[in-house]
Structure formats: structure tokens, C-alpha cells
Amino acid sequence: MIKLVNVTKKFGAITALDHINLSIDDGEYLCILGQTGAGKTTLLRTIAGLLKPDEGEIYVDGELVNDLPPEQRNAVYMFQQFALFPHMDVWQNVSFSPVIKDWDEDRIKNLTFEILEMVKLAERRDAFPNELSGGMQQRVALARGIASGARILLLDEPLGALDARLRVELRTQLRKLVKDQRLTAVHVTHDQEEALMIADRVVVLRRGKIEQIGTPNEVYLRPQSIFVLSFVGGANFLEGNVVRVSDSGSLIEMQSGLHILVSDRSRSIGERVVVAVRLEEVSVGIEVVNSTNSFSGVVETAMFIGGSMEYGVRLENDVLLFSRILLSDAVRAYKPGERVVVSFNPENCYVFAYPVIGLLKEIEAI
């Protein structure tokens, strides 16, 4: 088990990690999700021992490892560019750690061969890294990590250097390998889709602080902040004030008098709030089906995105509301300029206090 207690790391005036508390179970696949500059890589390097925290403690299996050099931590760091030693062939790369650790020669041979077989690269053992494709290089890097006998894999954007299709393909393979080998993996990524798909738990990191920790389901369905909601999945954000709280929910008045009903009753009257609705929860139709949270407007944009359509509808109060409708669910298509009615359920609305720094600042990158 890896445990971080109040870990803080500063680079000059920038606080890259700000009192991080985190524990990672054995055999867990943990994703650290965040934008560029959120401190993901710093966190990973700190766990690896490549950086020393300014404050706080790091424990591995109950032992304090702050002063332990990287080679004694049994945690392999995998770089985005794989860092295969260019002057060594595949075999030498994979057997690097066993050789350095001076294991028995037969054991090294058998182990290296076994692992190369596992990643299906035994035939390329004499090749040099620059002769291999990106996918192969990634497999060699994994094989090298596993051969070291380390129980912890620290993966820094391990799929980032690969092309889009391979990236998707290798996600499941990566997870399977980690699970089969019963390793603990800490995987850093900025790709929310990747994190949600691959991880047991996701840590959303922002400006060196943890915004939320949870299973992919929790992070997606119960985001604890506007940032998490916008970063993981995205949503429409509407500003307003709470005008009434009743048994059926709270009523929120938007700037130009439109009212939104939400199930959340935790806000008090008069509070300035942000209401968020996921794009896929907004439906588009021609007529009013249900009078709550139905607004008429004009289609402004219609975009075809893979298997779904994304509409931007300009409401009467000038708010632009986006909706995403799966093609298979679509009743019909709408054209820009067409008058439509958009609606969403009060249960599907998230309500947050209006952020101190302003809504746009809260959502924007970094």
C-alpha cells in the first residue's frame, strides 16, 4: 500500500503539490486525471523518489520512504516516450534491471524470455528501440518494468505517444496486464475517457490539489465540484439565484426571468448558484411535453459528432444550451434556425454555490 500524507512540493513560487493525502491499495489501478500543469507528473515523480517532497511523508507498505533513493523503492517509472535505452537492444533493455541487481544468470535468461513471450516480442529480442513501432516500444517498456520485479508501476501518460486508435486498443490490454500480474498501477493522464475506462479509482487533480477521489462512476455521476463536472464529461452551466425551496425541490431564477426547477434542496433562498446539466440529459423536441424545465428556443448550431448529434439552442433569455442526442435515440434531425423546445429533468441538475473566482475562471483550463 502506498500512502501519502500532506505531501507538498514547490518549484520556486509555484506550488505543484499542495498537501496531498492519498492512499493506494495493493493491486489497485489508480488514475490521476488533470490538465497540463495540474501537478500529475510531479505527484508521480514524488512517489517514484525522483523528486523529494518539501513537506509530508510517503509510506510504502507502512515504511517511510522519503529518504529512500528511487532504486530502492521498487516502483518503476514509465515515461511517455518510454525511455528505452537507445544503445541497448530489446533483450538488454528488458533484462536491464535483473542484470543490475545481479540476479542468477539462468534466472535472468528464463525471466526475460518469459516476459518477452508474454508481450509477444520474443522474436524481436535483437532489435534496437528505434527499429520498433510505437506500440512495440510501449510493450518493451512494460516488459522492462515487470522484469524488474517491481510491484508498483508508475505510468506517466503511457499511451500519450501512440496514435489515437492504438491508444484505445491498448487501454484494455494495459489494465489486463496489470491485473494479471497483480501489480499496483498509478497512471497519469489528461484524457478523461481513458481514466474513466481503465481505472479502479480516479483522482482528479487541479492546481496541485485533489478535487475528488472516487470510482469512475462516482466521479462522473456525483461530481463534487464545478471543475470536476466540466472536466469529466462536461455540461451546460447556468447562473441564477435560489428563489424558492419546497418539497419538490428548489426553484432557481435565471438572469432574464426564466425559472429552473431542481431536485436539490440544500441551497438557501437568495443564494447565488450555478446549475449544471449534462449535454446528454437535455432533450430536444418540437412541442412541450412536460411543463417543468421546458424552454423554447432556436437551433443555432447542429454538429455531427461520431454516433450523436450536438445541438446548440439559443433560449429566449439569450442563453445558449447544448444538447447531445444519440443517433439511435433521435426522433428526427433539426436544422439551424428551426424553433424547438429543450427540456431536462429536475433530478439531472447539479447545483453548486457560485464560485468566488467567477464561473468562467473556475471552468477554464488550469
Binding site: R45, A48, G49, L50, L68, P69, P70, E71, Q72, R73, A75, V76, Y77, M78, F79, Q81, A83, F85, P86, H87, F96, S97, I100, K101, R144, G145, S148, A150, L154
Partner: protein, 567 residues
């Protein structure tokens, strides 16, 4: 495991300490001692330079005169270098054409060629009947040795030699700079309607300004300190560097060291601010100037026209410069060796032939053999010791916070004029300070270490920064390698190419060095110094042979560099 690493924890610190101590002691101390010597012996300096009982301040007048001459020569050389160097660097960096690598080698040649041999080749080419003059059917050289270039008022041959010896610094630096600039900027500019020349003026050149400056600085320092070739071709005029050699050999140490310190200080005052400025700015530089629109339009139109008609001139001119400054002298000296092989072709006397001079009563062949062995021992030992200092030093520069400072200090020996360098080593280790080593082979080695260390360090740093060493080492560390293991198995093999290149570069430099060697060599003569002596003894055929021999030796080494860097 933990215990073991703790026991050896002091080792890295010890290595760092020893490397830095060696650097200060061997590389920096001589220069600083030279300057302090002037202050320590100020009475002596004053007596010799300003208030000589017999000649008064005649020496001071001499110093001023040679200083002005040196500066005129160096500045005009750099100006010429820049005009043609920029063109040549652009062609080399941006065009592909057959024979390009040959052209690159030719440009590099003066960097590795022993300067006295090359100076002699140039001298032959321009001023004797064995050179261009003879080819054109004249009965004399194309021009007398004392022919003067108008306006700048320096001897023509001296000017030519300085151009050929300094041009590579401008070209190589700028070529690397141009290559590092993404071609997309130029493509964008072209697609936005700018002609090639306009694009070059507005896009490429401003981006390359740091390269222009650092190339110019290197060329300037080289020209200011050049001694070997200058001694041979200077005729009656004297540059600051050869004045130092002359005074040192006349044991006017006070005058020589005063002159040497002046040269060092002036070089620093000019060069270090430029270096520091561009280092701090991280290579970015912005020139803002505003031309009146009408003029600007005119220029752009002219450039458009020039872009159509210029390519030929642009390709041809640099080739012409290289041909006249580098190829022709080498061909001429070869030709002369053949002409003079058995006898003087003009008088028919066998005494004037190469064979007679080499194997006859003066027995120059024996001297050449001896000088060769001295040269090789010096180059090997100096380069080896310098490499041992340079490797840890390069790591310190890359890894430690004060590395940048050390890297700046490394410029000190790079820009010190070579005769000042020789003098400083002589003063430091010789009778006037430590009194440990007398003139001779060991002092030559100590001198060569000084300029070899920065050459090797720069080469290692280039390899280091080009290969993301930190990532590979980090990776190795998390795979279980100790810091020492990681250096041994990962970083050293990865920068091996850089170390080897640095070794060969410094070896050739050591083999060809003349100015500093001349001052410290005593009776142990190196091959380039031998050439100077031969010329002074008017043993022209022997000098011809030895120059050819030197040129071929360095060309062979250049081939080695090419093979090493190609990998």
C-alpha cells in the same frame, strides 16, 4: 543495501570537488596569474614599458601600435567573415546538393589544420612563383608579401589567412543555428507573399542573431589570438600575439605579460558581456526597427527582383571564397612539394630540393620524426588528462545549480589569445611562481590541457543535451540502478560519441597549436613549431614537405571525426 550506499555517500562529493579543483588549478589559474603577475611586478613593468632608462616609453608606443593593428585586422576579418559566412551557412543549412558533406568538411578543415602549415601554404600561393603567379605565367608571385588591402590597411596575405582560419567559426555556429530554426516560419512567410530574400531578412536573420553574435565572438577571439600562421605570413607587420612571442623569447617577461594581460582583458571586456547577454536571454533576441513605408516597399521590391536573380550568386560566391582561401593553398603546397621534390626547379640545384633537405646534412627528416613524436605525446597526454577533467565537469555543468557559472568560466580559456596562454602557463609553473617545471614537453602539455578542457566539455554537453540523459537515468534509477550504476551503464555509453568527438577535436587542436607552444616548448619542438623554424631558416622545401605532412595528418583526423559523429 541502504547501508552500502550510505558508506559511499561522500564519493560523488569527492569527485565533484576533485574535478572543480583540477579545473581551477589547471585551466583557470594560469590566466589569473598572468594578470596578477603584472600587478605583482608592477615596478618591473613600469621600468620596461613606461620608463626605460634608455628608450623611455618606446615599448608602450610599440604596444599601442600592435594593439591597434591587431584590432583593425580582427575586426575587418570578422566583418568579412560575417558577410560570406552568413551566406555559406544558409546554403549549408537549407539546401541539399551533391557534394554538400565534402563542402562541410572543407569549411571545417581550418579548424583542425595546423596553422603554421596552413599559413605557409597561403604564403606560397600568393607571394611566390610556385603559387598562383606561376600558374598565370608570371615570373614572380601574384603579389608581394607586403601588398596592402586598401581602406583597412592590413597586409593582404595576413588578411586572407585570418579569414580562412576564422570563417569556420562563423559558418559552423550559424549553420547549427539556422538548422535549429523550424522551416515552418520560412514556409509561412513565403506563403504569405514574401520573397526568399525578404523572408531571409525578416524571419531567418532576426531569429539567428544570437548565432551571428556568438560566431562573430569566436572568430574575433580566434583572429586576435592567432599566432602560428601569423608568424609566417606577417612579414614586417606585427600583431599583438606575435609581439608577445617575440618579447617572451627575448626574456622581456614584464613587457610580454603586460601585453598579454591587456589582450586578455580586452578580449573579456568585448566578449563576455555578449556571451552573458545571450546566455541569460536564452537565445531570444528582438530587433525592432521601423523603416518609412516608401523605403520599405522599395527594399521589398528590390528583394523580389534579387530573389529571382540571386540564387546563382548566392551559391557561387561562398564556393569561390572557400576555393581561394582553403582549396587553392592546399593544392598549391602539394604542387610545390612535387616541383621541389628532387631539386629547386628554378636553379636546378639539388640542395634546394625536398629530398636533399630532409636527408642531407641538415637532416630535417630526423627533426620531423622527433617533432612528430613530441607532438603526439603532447596531444595524447594533454587530451587524456583534459578528458578526465572534462567528463565530470560536463556532468557538474548539467546537474548542479552553479553549472552555468562554471560554463561561463570555461569561456575564459576559449577566448584567451594563445600566446598569452603560453606566457601565462610559463609564468605560473616556471621559475617566477611555482618553479616546478621548466620549458619543455611537460610545460607544453600543461598549456594544451588549458584549451583542451573547454573543447571536450562543449562536445560532451552537446551530446548530453541532445539525448535526454535525465529521462534515461531516471528510468534506470526506478528500475533499480544506483546513481553510480546509471552513470556507468546509461549516461556514459549515451554520450560516448560526444566524448570521442571531443577527444579527437582536442587532439587535432593540440597537434596544430603553435602560438602558445612556441613560448613554452624550450628545446622540445612540436611539428607546427618546426615549420615556423624552417621558414625562418629559409629551408623552404623542408617547410613545404612538413606543411603537407601536417595537412594530411589533420585531414586523416578529420575523417576520423566524420566517422565518429556519423555513428
Amino acid at each position: 543495501m541502504v547501508q552500502r550506499s550510505r558508506n559511499f555517500a561522500f564519493l560523488p562529493k569527492l569527485v565533484v570537488l576533485v574535478a572543480i579543483a583540477a579545473f581551477f588549478f589547471f585551466v583557470l589559474l594560469p590566466t589569473f596569474y598572468l594578470i596578477s603577475y603584472v600587478f605583482l611586478r608592477w615596478g618591473e613593468v613600469q621600468l620596461e614599458v613606461f620608463a626605460n632608462p634608455i628608450i623611455g616609453d618606446e615599448n608602450w608606443g610599440q604596444i599601442l601600435k600592435v594593439l591597434f593593428f591587431s584590432f583593425r585586422l580582427s575586426l575587418s576579418t570578422v566583418a568579412f567573415d560575417l558577410v560570406f559566412g552568413v551566406l555559406l551557412a544558409y546554403v549549408l543549412a537549407r539546401k541539399r546538393f551533391p557534394g554538400k558533406s565534402l563542402l562541410e568538411d572543407l569549411v571545417t578543415l581550418p579548424l583542425v589544420i595546423p596553422t603554421s602549415g596552413f599559413g605557409f601554404a597561403t604564403l606560397i600561393t600568393w607571394t611566390t612563383v610556385g603559387g598562383i603567379g606561376g600558374l598565370l605565367g608570371l615570373n614572380s608571385g601574384l603579389m608581394p608579401l607586403n601588398a596592402i588591402v586598401p581602406i583597412i590597411n592590413v597586409p593582404f596575405v595576413l588578411f586572407i589567412v585570418h579569414i580562412s582560419l576564422t570563417l569556420p567559426y562563423v559558418v559552423r555556429t550559424l549553420e547549427t543555428k539556422f538548422q535549429s530554426i523550424d522551416t515552418t516560419f520560412e514556409i509561412a512567410s513565403r506563403t504569405l507573399g514574401a520573397s526568399t530574400v525578404t523572408t531571409f531578412r525578416n524571419i531567418l536573420l532576426p531569429l539567428a542573431v544570437p548565432g551571428v553574435f556568438s560566431g562573430a565572438v569566436l572568430a574575433f577571439a580566434r583572429s586576435l589570438g592567432e599566432t602560428g600562421a601569423t608568424m609566417i605570413v606577417s612579414g614586417v607587420s606585427s600583431t599583438a600575439s606575435i609581439a608577445i612571442v617575440r618579447w617572451a623569447s627575448e626574456f622581456k617577461l614584464a613587457t610580454a605579460s603586460f601585453m598579454g594581460s591587456l589582450l586578455v582583458v580586452i578580449a573579456w571586456v568585448i566578449i563576455l558581456p555578449v556571451e552573458l547577454y545571450f546566455n541569460r536571454r536564452g537565445g531570444s533576441f528582438k530587433i525592432s526597427y521601423q523603416l518609412p513605408p516608401s523605403l520599405s516597399n522599395k527594399i521589398i521590391k528590390m528583394e523580389k527582383f534579387a530573389s529571382k536573380s540571386l540564387p546563382r550568386i548566392k551559391d557561387f560566391l561562398p564556393l569561390f571564397i572557400i576555393a581561394t582561401t582553403i582549396i587553392v593553398p592546399i593544392v598549391m603546397v602539394l604542387n610545390s612539394v612535387m616541383l621541389y621534390w628532387s631539386a629547386d626547379p628554378y636553379t636546378g640545384k639539388a640542395q634546394g630540393g625536398v629530398v636533399y633537405q630532409l636527408f642531407g646534412p641538415s637532416n630535417y627528416f630526423n627533426s620531423i620524426l622527433q617533432a612528430t613524436s613530441t607532438s603526439i605525446i603532447v596531444a595524447l597526454v594533454a587530451t587524456y588528462v583534459a578528458t578526465c577533467i572534462a567528463i565530470p565537469l560536463a556532468f557538474i555543468i548539467e546537474r548542479r545549480r552553479y553549472g552555468g557559472f562554471i560554463r561561463t568560466l570555461l569561456k575564459v580559456p576559449l577566448i584567451i589569445p594563445s600566446s598569452s596562454l603560453g606566457l601565462s602557463v610559463l609564468l605560473l609553473w616556471g621559475p617566477s611562481c611555482f618553479d616546478l617545471i621548466n620549458s619543455g614537453i611537460w610545460l607544453i602539455i600543461l598549456t594544451h590541457i588549458v584549451f583542451s578542457v573547454p573543447v571536450i566539455v562543449e562536445s560532451i554537453i552537446a551530446a548530453y543535451e541532445g539525448s535526454n540523459i535525465q529521462m534515461y537515468e531516471d528510468s534506470a534509477r526506478t528500475l533499480g540502478a544506483t546513481a553510480y550504476n546509471a552513470i556507468e551503464t546509461i549516461s556514459l555509453p549515451l554520450i560516448k560519441g560526444g566524448i570521442l568527438t571531443g577527444f579527437v577535436l582536442s587532439f587535432t587542436r593540440s597537434l596544430g597549436e603553435t602560438g602558445a607552444t612556441f613560448i613554452v616548448m624550450g628545446r622540445d619542438m612540436t611539428v607546427p613549431a618546426l615549420v615556423v623554424n624552417m621558414v625562418e631558416a629559409l629551408a623552404i622545401p623542408a617547410a613545404l614537405f612538413t606543411s603537407t605532412y601536417l595537412i594530411f595528418l589533420s585531414m586523416a583526423l578529420l575523417a576520423v571525426i566524420r566517422i565518429l559523429t556519423r555513428r
